[in-house]
């Protein structure tokens, strides 16, 4: 009890929020210009006016296309309880036409509590689908087809797409086809027949702008003041959070984060790490949490390997290889490295000169850790010493590794 509890509770609350896509995207749904409201408008007008429609959601991965779609569908199911049924297909699983028809038939059976038989032929499946579409059209029920990874459905002859979109051209059926894809030219790769039947509505999902980002952060990380958490704790938490969010260094962190990947998903992973680093004793988030999260997001495994694990001898060998490369030797093997090592030893008079066996051992270590590798995969017959090798790390990484290695002699 005591002060531990509210901090833990807060941590649990924040973590559950970050894992729940519905919560994340609700602030986006307020503005009338957002994708949420546009999508909702299109689908709900198709449902209420009983006309067919098709739409494509485009945007980079992790931008929240499926999350927003699920949000819209959930709200629509609440508004029009019996008038919608949803069929979900995924391009990774169902790109084969027969497979897709079977899945559609199965989902329709589940929705309407009919018996589904696995032995039915694909012809019967497609007739069943068309018959169901007509029935639902008569009963004023709209079927919403959600096609995830839409671009994968366009391989082959696009039969499924054609039959779906063609069924929508008839007056008797009532359906909405929603395609979700990360390829921007998803409608260009459709066949011209299919493209002609598709209604060319596209919604673009873009990563959030800076203001939206601020709003989102506040929305996610602020604790509610009227919940089970003690009131002053929550207020103090929010005040400290506000300070952090306005800090210049935090903005820099955000910039670095979003300069390589600005999608919402990436941001959420970063926030999750930061929240997990929260100091449970003090119970508040601090700037250090975010900094450590950033460094764990942007890892450089080979550099870490260099800094942590390499012995002096191994570093020497790497430096020798680098020098050989600088001298423009196209291929060199262990023997030439040894020669170079000897040369360095002679010219710089360093105290560490190891025997050949020890060097060979260090060499093999480097091979195992993949800091160097063989240039070709052929000569398995030759011994390790004679096969040509090359460096797998760049000179910059080597330099940084050398600089930060603790016990490295100056050179």
């Amino acid at each position: 009890m005591g002060r531990e509890n509210p901090a833990e509770e807060a941590l649990i609350l924040l973590r559950s929020r970050l894992c729940n896509p519905n919560y994340i995207f609700t602030p986006f749904s307020d503005s009338p210009d957002s994708n949420y409201s546009k999508l909702k408008f299109i689908i709900s007008s198709s449902v209420t006016e009983a006309c067919n429609n098709s739409i494509l959601l485009l945007g980079p991965r992790g931008c929240g296309k499926i999350a927003v779609l699920e949000l819209v569908l959930r709200d629509l199911l609440v508004e029009h309880p019996d008038m919608i049924s949803v069929i979900r297909l995924n391009g990774l699983l169902h790109s084969d036409d027969n497979c897709a028809l079977k899945e559609i038939a199965r989902q329709l059976c589940v929705e309407h509590q009919l018996l589904f038989s696995k032995m039915v032929s694909s012809d019967d499946n497609s007739q069943f689908m068309i018959a169901m579409l007509q029935e639902c059209g008569l009963a004023h029920k709209t079927i919403i087809f959600v096609l995830d990874e839409f671009d994968l459905f366009t391989q082959g002859k696009q039969r499924l797409l054609y039959s779906l979109l063609d069924a929508m051209q008839s007056v008797t059926s009532q359906a909405v086809v929603i395609g979700v894809s990360c390829r921007l030219d998803a409608d260009q790769i459709l066949e011209k027949r299919v493209r002609s039947r598709f209604s060319h509505r596209k919604l673009l999902f873009l990563p959030p702008s800076k203001e939206d980002l601020q709003r989102l952060l506040e929305h996610i990380l602020s604790l509610p003041t009227d919940s089970s958490l003690p009131h002053d704790y929550a207020v103090e938490f929010n005040a400290k959070l506000h300070n952090i969010l306005g800090d210049e260094r935090f903005k820099e962190i955000l910039n670095t984060l979003s300069s390589s990947d600005s999608t919402v998903n990436h941001l959420l992973r970063f926030l999750f790490r930061a929240v997990c680093h929260m100091n449970l004793e003090s119970g508040f988030l601090s700037l250090e949490n975010f900094k450590s999260a950033l460094s764990s997001v942007q890892r450089q495994p080979k550099l870490e390997c260099l800094q942590a694990d390499c012995s002096i001898l191994e570093l020497y060998i790497l430096v020798c290889m680098k020098r050989l490369e600088v001298k423009e030797e196209n291929s060199y093997n262990f023997n030439s490295v040894m020669k170079e090592y000897k040369a360095i030893h002679d010219s710089f008079r360093t105290p560490d000169y190891y025997a050949r066996n020890v060097c060979l051992r260090a060499f093999e270590h480097l091979l195992q850790r993949e800091l160097i590798c063989f240039t070709d995969n052929r000569g398995h017959n030759q011994s390790v010493e004679y096969r040509p090798v090359k460096l797998l790390i760049s000179s910059q990484e080597l330099y940084q590794g050398l600089k930060s290695s603790r016990s490295c002699p100056v050179s």
Binding site: E49, N52, D123, R159, S163, L204, S260, S262, E397
Partner: protein, 527 residues
């Protein structure tokens, strides 16, 4: 749009040939609306002079030649002119204005009217007459009639781009043919319409044809349906004879297999001596018959080819107007319709697209309505607080009635349909990915057509160094390249080594330059 105040005003005599048109209209809902828009016609009124509507005779002929299709019932025109409207004098230029002049205002807030409009413009609503395709329909009809009369078999191939009305016209012809056969007292036809995409196996088409011929007879398993049909057709018919069968095969190119056997056999069925089928094939390729059925030429029974050309601007306009004529109110400004027809005709001539764009424009109108209602609601709440100064602005807002789809709505709808999302996406990419695209552009400018990830990395590092941005490592670079290739901006080849994967740009260089021109850094970079 001209609007009414009260009863109407007089029409000027014929000698005056100014462009003045006076229209008196009764608004459907009895309200008085003033019009803030500029109208194509000027308005003049004299007070107190009685209305003298010109005689209906004068009005019939111009209307008929513009808007009437061959089957428009004559009473429709009379009904319009019999209205309490004083008609206008037309100038040759303003003929289009006629079609909307005579109609009353549309209230887009009325949901029933809105849904009626949307239904009329939906692709799935088949119009009662198929305009602009009379020529092709007649040809097909004549061909079929000739076949039926002579009790001979024949084949026809209808081709054209998607959205040119092929399936629709053939449906109409089928209907007309059946009617004609019953009228002329001939034996009724069997009709089989198949869409070849629904066939799992291409040779299933023969079993379907056989099934139609002999619905109750069980198929003998030893010979294939094709051979069965061939046998059937090579025997001279008995006195009762089989009925003629009309086979309509839609999306014929799905039957093309590697050895082209099925398509060939299908058309050969019509050449068998006592064959009784009329085959109509529909597809997109114009030269399907030449490319895939060369042997038929030698047998001198090539199918008749009817080409459905892409719609021109005038045709699209006519079709849209014909659809909208069914509504008793005007929905579109004529310039908006013209713009739509022109753009779609220039792009593809696809009718479905034109209908889609029109519906999109109506949705723009709806959105605008919603916004203005919310503004009005807001302002009516605050009305009490405001003083007189702001009152005229509010009045202006209420007066600017949004009851017709204007050119600006159409422009937005067209740009939405034809715009590619590439420029927007590039502008919203994270910084490093944009730098990657720039480095790719620079590399491709210099010499080659494709490059590897390793070289891209070098170019990327150079750019970063030149602008003092810390570059990311090669691992992160290759994962960013993968993300870009997922989105369709780059194309990554396969290779065992990460650095040796080939990279090609899938986007036009001009698009990238255009998208990034707002940022000075990239502008300098791409010079």
């Amino acid at each position: 749009m001209p609007s009414l105040v009260g009863h109407g005003t007089s029409a000027f005599p014929a000698g005056n040939d100014l462009k003045e048109i006076i229209a008196g209209k009764s608004d459907k809902h009895g309200e008085i609306r003033s019009n803030g828009e500029s109208t194509p016609q000027k308005r003049r009124s004299t007070s107190g002079s009685p209305i003298s509507p010109p005689s209906p005779m004068k009005w019939k002929s111009p209307r008929r030649c513009i808007n009437a299709s061959p089957t428009t019932p004559p009473n429709e025109i009379e009904k319009d002119s019999g209205d309490k409207l004083a008609r206008s004098r037309k100038t040759p230029v303003k003929k289009l204005a006629d079609s909307f002049l005579a109609k009353s205002n549309w209230n887009p807030r009325d949901t029933k009217q809105m849904s009626a409009v949307k239904e009329v413009l939906h692709v799935s609503t088949a119009p009662s007459t198929v305009v602009c395709r009379e020529d092709e329909q007649n040809r097909v009809l004549e061909f079929c009639k000739a076949c039926v009369e002579q009790e001979k078999a024949g084949s026809l191939y209808a081709c054209g781009c998607p959205g040119t009305g092929k399936s629709l016209s053939i449906e109409k012809v089928k209907q007309l043919l059946l009617d004609w056969a019953t009228e002329a007292g001939l034996q009724p036809l069997d009709v089989l319409s198949i869409t070849c995409t629904s066939l799992t196996n291409t040779s299933e088409i023969f079993s379907k044809i056989l099934g139609k011929h002999q619905p109750r007879k069980k198929v003998n398993g030893s010979i294939s349906p094709l051979q069965h049909l061939q046998k059937l057709y090579s025997q001279k018919q008995q006195s009762s004879g089989m009925k003629m069968m009309l086979i309509i095969a839609d999306e014929l190119d799905y039957l093309i297999t590697k050895d082209r056997a099925v398509l060939h056999d299908l058309f050969m069925l019509t050449t068998v001596p006592f064959s009784r089928c009329i085959l109509i094939g529909i597809a997109n390729a114009i030269d399907l018959a030449d490319r895939f059925l060369p042997k038929l030429q030698s047998l001198n029974c090539k199918p008749t080819v009817v080409t459905f050309r892409a719609y021109s601007k005038e045709q699209i306009l006519r079709i849209l107007q014909q659809r909208l004529m069914a509504l008793p109110y005007t929905v579109f400004q004529p310039q908006a319709l013209e713009l739509c027809a022109r753009k779609v005709a220039a792009a593809s001539g696809d009718m479905r697209k034109a209908l889609c764009v029109c519906r999109s424009a109506i949705e723009m109108l709806e959105v605008e309505l919603k916004e203005s209602t919310s503004i009005l609601n807001l302002s009516s709440v605050e009305k009490g607080v405001f003083d007189r100064r702001t009152a005229p602005t509010l009045e202006f807002v209420t007066k600017q009635e949004i009851d017709i789809v204007r050119v600006d709505h159409m422009v937005v709808a067209l740009s939405r349909t034809y715009r590619s999302p590439i420029v927007d996406t590039i502008q919203s990419l994270p910084q490093h990915q944009q730098i990657i695209l720039c480095s790719a552009v620079k590399l491709f400018r210099m010499r080659k057509k494709e490059t590897t990830v390793g070289e891209l990395n070098k170019s990327y590092v150079d750019i970063c160094k030149a602008s003092l941005i810390p570059p990311v490592g090669i691992l992160e670079l290759s994962s960013m390249c993968r993300v870009l290739s997922d989105q369709g901006l780059l194309k990554l080849g396969q290779s065992r080594e990460e650095k040796l994967k080939r990279v090609t740009l899938k986007v036009d260089e001009a698009d990238i330059t255009f998208a990034l021109q707002g940022v000075r850094f990239f502008r300098n970079c791409l010079q």
